[in-house]
Amino acid sequence: MQLGFLVDLHLCMGCKGCEIACKVENEVPLSTWRLRVKYVDVGTFPETKRTFTPLRCNHCENAPCERICPVSALHYLDNGIVNIDKERCIGCAGCVMACPYGAIYIDPQTQTADKCTYCAHRVASSMMPACVVACPVQANIFGDLDDPTSNISKYIQVNQSNVQVRKPEKGTNPHHFYVGGGNVNLNPLASHRGEGHNLFGEIKNLPVGGHH
């Protein structure tokens, strides 16, 4: 079994329900996110469009974070999830530096690395990840990539020409796919990022782990 995620960006309406559900389910501290929805505005007025892109750990098959972690705090589960053992983590932040998706952060409460685990604790109890349950339009599709009859496999088959991953050139083989994404959604270098366009307005950078 190799669990994977697919987000249909045609369906996502940027309600941030997934973001909140994740926060609540995993008790993610203030100023940190396991999952977030990025808004990118495209076009020139009046021909403009707002795009929404949920961003989370890609659970790469060839995960740089797992490779660089000196104590195997980041490790693979049998179902392909890249999990984290916070009790083992020494907080070297090597994983934060290695992840090309910016999906890992230092938890300011535990001072250890943390990230999306596809809600491994829920999956172990045969439940769907919290973000999947919260999505009102079923834009998040979660399932077994090894099973050709799973919803995610069928979705990939149907949308073959329109399935993308982020930064494929990094060779990480993400288990997280997007349908309906464009360069502006998936490539951070394809959009302007003006100061102040974040949840806290004037704050440009957040302290890593609450210090340094």
């Binding site: 808004y39 740089p64 195997s72 907080g91 999906a103 490539n187 270098l189 440009k204």
Partner: protein
């Protein structure tokens, strides 16, 4: 920063979380700088004992002490940078040997053990045994100084840190700082000829390191968009442009000029000035190269 923006799309991020701050801060700069000195002086002593044995024989104890001190500085700053420093022992108990951090920790610990032995042997004036241990210490110093390059290369997100380049830069940094410290530590114990040899090492390593940086500066952006985006931080009115060029001048260009001047005028004072500049500049260069890829948004 935004290299792929098209006028047709005019894409602007209008809502996102704030970018994370600097993950590996100045503590890591000190780490790399101190390790370069700690390994570099060992390389230099090994060389001097072969090329200028009479002059270098009195440097066995001072060199071992300097290396011991700087490797401890390197280890202390490594520890200080951990968010959970009291769990450092996990590295040795739950080791993941695909990680350069884990492999490097074992090698650095072994290196520190050998340095401690060298200090002891020099103190006891057991020169023959010292020289035998120095051979193995010098051999181990090579991977110890290189492992940070491997660690940087494992940072998949930071495109400018490429392994072949960084490994060359790490060795050159060790040669540069090692020769600089030996010029300063040598004092009256080293002959002028030995100092001239150290000056050649300093000058050549400065020249090669500068050449590599300039090659990356000019040609790196032609290979990868992320490199191009990162280079923007040290080009034009980028936030680290001044610091980058300050580092290049202080670490490499001025020491090269000073070395030439010292040779033509046979001045040891100018040689010492070159050494001081190289040591200060190296810290600046390392810091800029450490910080700039961390400024790039990852998502």
């Amino acid at each position: 920063m935004a290299h792929e923006i098209l006028a047709a799309t005019n894409a602007v991020v209008t809502l996102d979380v704030a970018l994370p701050g600097i993950v590996w801060p100045w503590l890591v700069t000190v780490n790399m700088w101190a390790k370069s000195i700690g390994t570099g002086v060992i390389f230099m002593l090994f060389m001097l004992l072969r090329m200028h044995p009479e002059s270098a024989k009195n440097l066995r104890l001072p060199t071992a002490i300097v290396a011991f001190v700087f490797i401890n500085i390197f280890l202390i700053f490594t520890l200080a940078d951990l968010h959970q420093p009291f769990r450092m022992w996990h590295i040795f108990v739950y080791s993941n040997f695909t990680s350069a951090i884990a492999v490097g920790s074992f090698m650095a610990s072994g290196f520190l053990g050998l340095l401690t032995l060298l200090v002891f042997l020099a103190w006891k004036k057991k020169d023959e045994t010292y020289d035998k241990v120095l051979l193995w210490t010098t051999i181990l110093a090579i991977p110890v100084t290189l492992y940070t390059a491997a660690l940087m290369a494992q940072c998949t997100a930071r495109e400018i840190w490429q392994m072949p380049t960084e490994s060359a830069q790490m060795i050159l940094a060790a040669l540069l700082s090692g020769s600089a410290v030996m010029i300063l530590v040598g004092g009256n114990k080293l002959s002028y000829e030995a100092k001239k040899t150290l000056g050649v090492v300093l000058g050549l390593s400065a020249f090669m390191a500068f050449t590599i940086y300039m090659s990356e500066y000019i040609f790196g952006p032609m290979k990868a968009e992320e490199v191009a985006a990162v280079m923007d931080y040290i080009k034009g009115d980028g936030p680290y442009t001044v610091m980058f060029w300050l580092g290049q001048w202080i670490a490499y260009l001025l020491p090269m000029v000073f070395i030439l001047l010292s040779r033509s005028s046979k001045s040891e004072s100018i040689l010492k000035l070159a050494a001081i500049f190289a040591l200060v500049g190296l810290a600046i260069v390392k810091h800029v190269w450490l910080i700039i890829p961390q400024l790039l948004p990852m998502s």
